[in-house]
Every structure is written in C-alpha cells, then in structure tokens.
Amino acid sequence: MLRPDEGGRMSSEQPGDATAWPDQIYDLLKEHGIRQVALVPDAGHARLIRRCLADNAMRVVPLTTEEEGIAMLFGAWLGGEKGVLLMQSSGVGNCINMLSVAIAHRTPCPMIVTMRGEFGEFNPFQVPMGQATPAVLEAMGTLVRRADRPEDVAPTVDATLRLAFNTYRPTATLIGQRVIGAKTFGK
C-alpha cells in the first residue's frame, strides 16, 4: 500500500505502510536520544536524512568518508552524547579498520546500513562490497542484524541501537536492497 507523503504527513502513524520505515527509524532515533547523526548520503536514507535535518535537536554531519563517522560517534560518546552512522554498504568497506576504535575502547557504535549489490542490482561495482558487508563487519567484531521486509526494519534498528548502547560495541542493521527498492527506485 504505497501512498504519497507530500505535506510532511507522518507515514509512521500507519504501521502497515510499506514506505513508513524511514519515519519509524527517525522515531527510534528520538526515542533513544540520538543527538549526532553522521552520514555519507545514500538514496535509501534520503527520507530519514530529511527528517533529521528538520530536527533542531539533532546535529546532522555530512562526512567526506565513513571513517570520520566512526571517530565522530566515539567523540560524541566521550562527551556524553549518542550518535548514529548512516551509510551505504559500500561505505562499510571504507571504515573497517576504524571499528577497532569502538572495540578497543568498548564504546557504542550503531550503524544503519542500506544495502546495495544484492537484490536486482544494476551496478557491477556494488556487488563485491555488498556481498562482503556482513562478513567484514562481523570479522571486526560488529553485531549484525538484517531487515529484509519493511515491517522488520524498525524492530531490527531498535534491537541494534539497544545492543550498541547497552553492551558498548559496534552494531549494524543492514536494510536489504529489496526493502529500499520498493521505496526508492519507483520514483
């Protein structure tokens, strides 16, 4: 049940709506008290990014590379704030070495990753990193959970935020390309 979301209406008020998951993630970021949102943009996150930019209580920080985001979230935690890193699966490859920061210091590092290279992908360059994303994250000690249906996104993001902030480690929600495709590629 697709419907347009013009006029800033809150799709999250309709739990059955297959396009509501970005708004549900935004609601979760608020619920968890997220203040710093670090990101390298991805089309799959565009709607969530718009919601965060419109929120004066959140600092949205566009990065030049995902590595910066791992460090920035760490700094946020050192200073007493919570952050989250939004990126595409290709960006995971950019920040692998930096995950040692969260492991060595035992600090939360929640990542929300929109997947490419796995479901109807058209770009050959997205496939190697997309296929390797869960393996390399787990190899660096990250707890990885996937959401492959729109209704699974919010509970999975909630679970990985809780895992990060309660158990002090890097965690990632991978949002399957099938979920994103339903929203983004039809435009």
Binding site: Q36, V61, F74, G75, L78, V101, A104
Partner: protein, 207 residues
Amino acid sequence: MSASVTTAHNAKRMNRAALVRRLVARIGEDPAVIGGIGHSNFDLWAAGHRARNFYMLGSMGLAVPIGLGVALAQPRRKVFVLEGDGSLLMQLGCLSTVAAQRPANLAILLLDNGTYQITGGQRTPAELAGTDLVAVARAAGLPQAAWAADEADFDRLVAQCLDTEGPHVIGLKLDDAPPAGQTERDPAQIRDRFMRGMGAKRSGLPG
C-alpha cells in the same frame, strides 16, 4: 582573526614536547585535549596527565573527527586536538567536515615534523611535495588557520583559541626530537578516565 603572515617555510622549527607543555600550562584545567596517534599523544602524556586528556593510541587520522564529536557534545568547553601531519594527510577531508559544522570551541594543533617519525622518520608526501597544510586548511574553509612563527607567537595563537570563537587551526613546524615519554597503553582505561573528567560517565561511584 590572525594577523600572522608566517608561512610554512619560514616558521621556526620547534620542539614538540616543549610546545605541548606550554599549551597545557596556558589552557588551565577546563579544556579537553585530544592527543592524536603516536608521538602527538606521547608528548601530551609526558606533559603531565590531566583529567580531560584523551590519548588516541590507534587508527591514524581520527583525532580531528573525534575532537569534532567531543566539541559538538560539549559546546561550552574548549576542545584542543593535537594531530600529526601524517595523520591529517590520511583524513584530509575532515577539514571540510569541520569547516561545514563550524564548532566555535574547537582548535586543531597541527604537529608538523614532515615525517612519519614513529616508523623511522620517513618523509611524508606532503613534505616531499612542499604542501602547506595550513594553506590547505584555509582553502578548506577554516580562515582562522595560521603557522606559529615561534614560541611567543604560539602563546598568542593559543590565547586566541581560548578568547575567540573558532574553529581555529595552529600549524607548528617541529624539529626531529623524539618524544619525552610514552603513554600507558590501556585504551579502555584512557576512555573511562576521560569520560569521568568530562562529566560524561553515568556512574554513582567515585574514581
């Protein structure tokens, strides 16, 4: 705004340990200081531990992004970042990231000895090319960036960081003297101490 016209090639080459001691003596207790990987944090450690010192033991290039996160989290506290030239080169884009956010409380001290000193003093590509990293910072959108001509000029620039809104960048050309000490290597303890010093640790227990 800095009046300094010192350029990379005519800045005095100074001693890192001595400069870090000057910094710590000048800024008092309140500011946070983030020491970047390698000899940057070694000399911060050697200058005498402070409650709000953080020593980054690993992962090149992250001191500035860490400092950005700290500065955004505690905007009323000054945050000084000590980052080496080799490390900054590995994450040069962070200068644009900082410029875009304009954290008024952030000061980046570039410790530029032109080499990867900890691995044997190999020259950096920027040194080989003659890259002026303070000019790079200015071009990235950080106009309050200046080379310190000498120790007295460094004191003046630090005072500017304390008294005026940033972000600031101070370039420091260094000699090749080794560090004055070596940081204790326990990252979890370093993190815990720093968070307590910053009032960011949620614990009812002392220490």
